[in-house]
Symmetry: C2
Amino acid sequence: MKDEKLEGILYYLIEKVNKVSRRYSQKIFDEQGWDITKDQWLVLKKIADNNRISQVELARALFKDTAAINRIINLMVVKKLVKRESRPDDKRQVELLLTSKGQKMFEVMLPTVVEIRKKGVEGLSTKEAEQLKMLLGKMINNLE
Amino acid sequence: MKDEKLEGILYYLIEKVNKVSRRYSQKIFDEQGWDITKDQWLVLKKIADNNRISQVELARALFKDTAAINRIINLMVVKKLVKRESRPDDKRQVELLLTSKGQKMFEVMLPTVVEIRKKGVEGLSTKEAEQLKMLLGKMINNLE
DNA sequence: ACCCAATAATTGATATATCAACTAATTATG
DNA sequence: CATAATTAGTTGATATATCAATTATTGGGT
């Protein structure tokens, strides 16, 4: 069976964009001396958006397993960026919220993160960026 | 600072496509009873394309660290899918090649993998798929 | 031939991804 | 209302991602 080379395959390209963007972000975080990973940033961002979210809700929002989220939160609790509070009306759940250190971290990082987002779409028109989002959305619908 | 919600952010969408496609592939591999990960498949594919590749070359092709490749190859050697041979003209390097089991595995899997690729772009025109690749390529150039 | 810088592979440490198993708490249902 | 099914969180095991350090080998310059 004849087969296309890896380089022309869409999934491969998507994985490459994903990796270069993660590395680009992480490099800047490290240069700034921010002791935080890109995944931990996403947690910070999501909790800042929706205060008092549970771990399951957070896992869904970030497409992660609850096991993965649990471990990320453990590390962020140790770093005092996030705290857990038990939800009184459902004792199985914990509510996640930012500590004041976490809130400050979020605010300090945000402008830089916005620049990192812009960097990726440099040279793309608004229309192209929208087209890109639309096509990626279609792929997601095909596969999930 | 006002900030866009996660759901509208391009990097986030790309990460989502990457995850759903990986999970979709892995689910099918598991259903077929193939004891192989999606990353190990990529190794199989790349070695099948370029016989006798070194670990550094493989790492570059798959955007992985040589440390990561080394560990993936270790597992694949244990599974007898791949073997290492020392390169006589440069004793630092090893050449990777498929075992006959690895070659057979590749041939068995390939048609299914081609279907998995098609699934992702269902409902996209050829033009749209090309547009998508082009835009992703631009993002890579911006970030690497 | 000798020293030094660069390269390939490897290993250790830490973070994340995933599945499976488990506990505790809640909800559904007979 | 008692029990079964479901849900949230946690932990263990294994695979991958990344950086740093180490070893062996090679190539360049003198």
